[in-house]
């Protein structure tokens, strides 16, 4: 095309011009070597050539160079300096020669952008000249103005707001002529700088809507459609409604009708009367039109903008269903599903009618269609059909490609988990569905499945047996351990099995599953959960075992002897050997009764062989938990040894029993969900002034907090412990085993918070840590309190109870009255904490019996530590001084563990029983205002719970 005949002009460029390569030559040279390297070389060569040519004074040479440069920058992404391209383009705009002008306009429209704005003033004058009528022939003039208008309608105009502002007036005559280009350019100009252009251009543009020329009216409808597009406000276009309506009823151009419908769809919500006016013509178009594009636009307009007109909606749904049923055209099927997806819940039943077609679309080859079908199906879900639909969808997962399979899983999880499982009625079903999902081959939704498994466990008590069963099936399958997507699920399953171990059928199998060799494939965080779960299982087994011993009155010695036999054999390697044998013999017998001492022995040995090596693991999480577990196992063995040597018969069962009970109490508190905004619900008690800044405490904390973890369990014992004789050794913290014991508690609670659950999990009840930190800051106490604040309401339906945590608005809307009465006891409880009453008492979720356990807990932990010391033989003679040394111990604690110094108050309450609350409050009267009696507090709190 534009290969220039050499125009002899100036001598120096004559050779250049004569032998200048045209664009075609350039394209050919680029195609000669299609490899990337060859092309790069050719581009570089051409660029250097163009750099020389474009400076030529001769317009012809320059225009060819410009053309080549435009081509390279557009299609070969050649890095061209903005000025290099824009400057000659603007220069050539002034050329009298039309082909040159054309090239220049093309180059300008493709190249002008914000960086070249500084050059625009140079172009403005030329554009102005080209737009205004001149002496030249009308046809020529039309060409020129078309080119100029085209430039104004290009993105360059949008990038350079000054340009259109100066030329707006020049557009008006062209608009009056009804030139589609001028209309498009005017739309651009208005969009680019509305303030300057609207007064000048809006009216002539609106006049084009009524133009008898269909080209003009169509272009104007398109222009207004663009201008009223969503980010912009459609209100200014309301006055155009009569013109648009006129166009809607008279125009025969589908293009114009589509645009008008789009504008009306945006205007209808703004003007209520509009919908009633347009519904008839739209329905007529819908029935009459043979063009699919127009039909679809009518459907969309009706469904989005005219939802109140039932007849029209039904007509549109009918058409949409025809689209869905179009077997031969995937485009129509896709758009049909898209249209049905626009329907609100009011028409869910009509969508249900074509459920079969939609379900069929789930298997479509086209991802668009599948996605829309899934979206539609999820929109149909309700309480009654969720089981059917979820089951059907899960069966589809196996047939789908990985991406869509996970879309399905994600959609099912989101639908079922929506608003705290409001659609799930049968949780047994849901739990097994979750397990099934995890086992589908392509599952990559492990995080969410794991989260929901734990969440259901925490919230729905009735689902726990099934949950434990499902967790078992997940844990015993060694194949699942290889799939890294499932690690969060396995982690949740392990946590569930450990937490609700009392529901398990076969703890031995569970321990084996948790310790199977392939667990080494798990990441550290999950392994830690596994080990901790083993800890919970073994603790529970012991408690059942000991309980049985007590019941049957059977001689405990037998069991101890055997345990001892193992231990006395000696070193680790021997243990391994023994347990190896044990496994052979054991495996068969053990199954019969998981709580026989063989099974217990078997489990202990298994733990020692598999977890033992992990003590040296270089990951602290695993190492610490392994140490905890091994420490516990050692403790059990040592007690028994000790008993054999030193203690009278009567003590043996009680020792073990106490140890086991202690450990069990550590785990007995149920973990509950905590509302995200629970803290806001805790009212600050009157008269309590919370410091904004706690800096002044820093000194106290840094001095005192030297041994934070050791202090937790060492509350002084009640007379309960005094009766059970054992002395407390004076120095407590020397034994490493007692260190473990102490750490268990703290660690356990922290795991609940950080390890087992992702951030959005309900937090574990952290009453213990907070009690230890009483002195440090009040906020901590608040967080402990939140646990209960969050549990204000439980949703009770006919289905299992699901603990729901209220959001603020839910609370205010649902139970504005309930809120008030509950406030008092709640803040009373808080006040109590703030006043230093024992946090343990507050956390007594299960009313009073937990208090007993709590006391027991403390008692036994004291004892176990003393036992450790005995074991070490550090104070062989101290037993005689039991009572006095205990008192000493208390004093000592106060002295050595300053964090406890605030804990004195709790202790006082504790030692004087429940009534001590009042006393404590008395002490702090300056802080607390008069309060309702705190004794009813426990039952009230219970109400908040499951």
């Amino acid at each position: 095309m534009a290969s220039t005949p050499a125009a002899p002009a100036v001598a120096p460029s004559l050779v250049d011009t004569l032998f200048q390569r045209s664009l075609n030559d350039l394209v050919k040279s680029l195609r000669a070597d299609p490899s990337a390297a060859g092309e790069a070389v050719a581009v570089a060569r051409a660029l250097s050539e163009i750099h020389r040519e474009i400076r030529a004074p001769d317009a012809a040479t320059k225009s060819v160079a410009l053309q080549k440069l435009t081509y390279l920058s557009s299609l070969h992404f050649a890095p061209v300096g903005t000025h290099l391209l824009a400057f000659p383009a603007i220069e050539l705009l002034a050329s009298p020669h039309l082909p040159h002008k054309r090239l220049a306009y093309l180059a300008a429209s493709l190249s002008l952008h914000p960086a070249s704005l500084s050059l625009l003033p140079l172009a403005t004058h030329q554009l102005h000249k080209d737009l205004s009528p001149s002496s030249a022939g009308a046809a020529h003039q039309q060409h020129l103005s078309a080119l100029a208008l085209q430039l104004l309608a290009s993105p360059a105009a949008a990038a350079a707001p000054d340009l259109p502002v100066h030329l707006a007036h020049d557009l008006v005559p062209h608009l009056a002529r009804g030139s589609p280009r001028a209309i498009a350019a005017a739309a651009r100009v208005i969009a680019a700088s509305p303030s300057a252009a609207v007064p000048v251009l809006f009216k002539p543009l609106a006049a084009c809507l009524a133009s008898p020329d269909p080209r003009a009216s169509t272009a104007a409808a398109a222009a207004f459609c663009d201008l009223s597009a969503p980010p912009a406000d459609a209100t200014p276009f309301l006055p155009l409604a009569p013109d648009l309506y006129n166009l809607l009823t008279t125009s025969r151009s589908n293009w114009a009708l589509i645009k008008v419908l789009k504008v009306f769809a945006r205007l209808a919500p703004l003007e209520p009367r509009l919908a009633a006016r347009i519904v008839d013509p739209v329905c007529q178009l819908l029935t009459r039109s043979s063009a699919m594009s127009l039909t679809f636009e009518c459907i969309r307009t009706v469904l989005t903008a005219l939802p109140a007109h039932d007849a029209a909606v039904r007509l549109a749904i009918g058409k949409a269903k025809e689209f869905v049923a179009a077997d031969d055209d995937p485009n129509l099927r896709y758009l049909g599903l898209l249209a049905l997806g626009l329907l609100g819940p009011a028409y869910a039943s009509t969508v249900n009618d074509c459920r079969d077609a939609i379900v069929k679309s789930l298997g479509d080859a086209d991802t668009n269609i599948r996605q829309e079908a899934l979206h539609l199906i999820m929109g149909m879900v309700n309480e009654n059909n969720i089981m059917d639909i979820a089951g059907m969808l899960i069966s589809h997962v196996a047939k789908s490609d990985p991406e869509f399979a996970n879309d399905i899983l994600g959609a099912v999880l989101a639908a079922c988990g929506h608003n705290v499982y409001e659609m799930v009625v049968d949780f047994d079903w849901y739990v097994s569905l979750l397990a099934d999902m995890a086992r589908t081959l392509l599952c990559a939704q492990g995080d969410e499945i794991g989260r929901q498994l734990v969440d259901v466990g925490l919230r729905v008590r009735d689902a726990r047996p099934e949950l434990v069963r499902s967790a078992r099936t997940l844990l015993i399958d060694p194949a699942l351990l290889g799939n890294h997507f499932l690690f969060p699920v396995l982690s949740a399953a392990a946590w569930v099995s450990g937490e609700y171990v009392d529901l398990t059928k076969d703890p031995v199998e569970l321990v084996e599953a948790l310790l199977q060799p392939r667990t080494s494939l798990l990441p550290i965080s999950v392994r830690a959960v596994y080990i901790h779960a083993v800890f919970k299982v073994i603790t529970w087994c012991f408690s059942v075992y000991v309980g049985r011993l007590g019941d049957s009155g059977m001689a405990v010695d037998v069991m101890f002897d055997r345990l001892a036999a193992d231990q006395t054999v000696g070193s680790e390697s021997n243990v391994a050997l023994v347990s190896g044998e044990e496994q052979d013999i054991g495996a068969s017998t053990v199954r019969k009764d998981p709580f026989s001492h063989e099974s217990i022995l078997y489990m202990i040995n298994l733990i020692q062989t598999t977890v033992g090596p992990l003590i040296n693991c270089n990951e602290v999480e695993v190492q610490e938990r392994a140490l905890n577990l091994i420490g516990f196992v050692h403790l059990v063995r040592e007690i028994q040894e000790l008993n054999k040597r030193n203690v009278a018969d009567g003590d043996k069962p009680s020792r073990l029993e106490e140890l086991v009970k202690t450990m069990q109490t550590v785990f007995c508190q149920e973990l509950g969900p905590v509302s995200v905004n629970a803290q806001m619900k805790v009212a600050t008690p009157d008269g309590l002034i919370l410091n904004e800044n706690l800096v002044e405490l820093a000194g106290i904390v840094s001095e005192d907090d030297t041994t934070p973890s050791t202090s937790i369990f060492f509350y002084p014992c009640s007379r309960h412990s005094a009766d059970t004789r054992d002395e407390l050794a004076v120095s407590i913290d020397s034994s490493s085993l007692s260190e473990h014991r102490k750490r268990h508690g703290l660690f356990y609670l922290q795991t609940g918070k950080t390890e087992d659950e992702p951030n959005d999990y309900p937090q574990a009840n952290d009453s213990l840590p907070s009690s230890s930190n009483n002195s440090v800051n009040d906020d901590k106490l608040k967080t402990a309190e939140l646990v209960f604040a969050g549990k204000k309401s439980t949703a009770t339906k006919s289905r299992p109870k699901v603990v729901k945590l209220d959001t603020e608005d839910f609370l205010s809307s649902m139970m504005p009255s309930a809120n008030v009465p509950k406030e008092d006891p709640l803040s009373g409880a808080l006040r109590d904490v703030l006043l230093g009453s024992d946090a343990k008492a507050l956390s007594s979720q299960r009313a009073s019996d937990i208090n007993l356990e709590g006391m027991l807990n403390k008692t036994s932990s004291n004892e176990s530590s003393s036992q450790q010391i005995e074991n070490l033989g550090s104070h062989p003679a101290s037993r005689s001084s039991s009572r006095t040394s205990k008192q000493q111990n208390h004093d000592k604690e106060k002295g050595t563990n300053p964090p406890e110094s605030d804990g004195k108050e709790p202790r006082k309450h504790r030692s004087s029983g429940r009534s001590g609350h009042r006393q404590g409050k008395h002490k702090h009267r300056e802080k607390s205002s008069t309060q309702p009696d705190t004794i009813p507090q426990a039952p009230v709190i219970q109400d908040f719970l499951l």
């Binding site: 095309m1 534009a2 664009l23 394209v27 195609r31 053309q67 435009t70 081509y71 920058s73 557009s74 299609l75 992404f77 061209v80 054309r102 090239l103 093309l106 493709l110 190249s111 952008h113 914000p114 078309a146 208008l149 085209q150 309608a153 290009s154 993105p155 360059a156 949008a158 990038a159 589609p180 280009r181 498009a184 080209r215 169509t218 398109a222 459609c225 663009d226 597009a229 969503p230 589908n254 293009w255 589509i258 645009k259 789009k262 063009a291 699919m292 594009s293 127009l294 679809f296 636009e297 995937p330 485009n331 099927r333 896709y334 758009l335 080859a365 086209d366 991802t367 668009n368 269609i369």
Partner: protein, 127 residues
């Protein structure tokens, strides 16, 4: 409105690029690449619409037609009708066919300026 028109060969080479919304030239190559990846991943005989919010701005869709060795791609926003765009591609291809008598990829490669003129006439002139 129409955001962009692209003609891309099945070898991932752009044959025609025209953006109706300003896109910095440095980004053009990435846009072409990501559009081509989308297109080449789609099997034949599926619907011709793809949501391209992640490539262009929010709410944009793309409609394409795969003819011989070329993809004809129109990118548009909510102000255009999907099926009308599909028709427009058809019109564009038919026009090219008339202009070049049995249009083939080579015609498009060697007629850079003509192509732009035809497109401008179609989009801005009388559609």
């Amino acid at each position: 409105m129409i955001q962009a028109v692209m003609v891309i060969s099945t070898q991932a080479k752009p044959r025609l690029l025209k953006f109706y919304n300003f896109q910095p030239p440095e980004k053009h190559q990435d846009l072409v690449r990501s559009v081509f990846q989308l297109l080449s991943a789609r099997p034949d005989s599926v619907s011709d619409f793809v949501k391209v919010d992640s490539i262009f701005c929010l709410g944009t869709k793309m409609v394409y037609k795969h003819l011989a060795t070329l993809y004809f791609v129109f990118v548009f926003d909510s102000s255009e009708n999907e099926l009308a765009m599909l028709d427009l591609i058809q019109v564009f291809v038919e026009t090219l066919d008339k202009c070049f008598k049995n249009v083939c990829e080579l015609d498009i490669v060697f007629n850079f300026n003509k192509l732009h003129t035809i497109l401008d006439e179609m989009i801005l002139g009388d559609r």
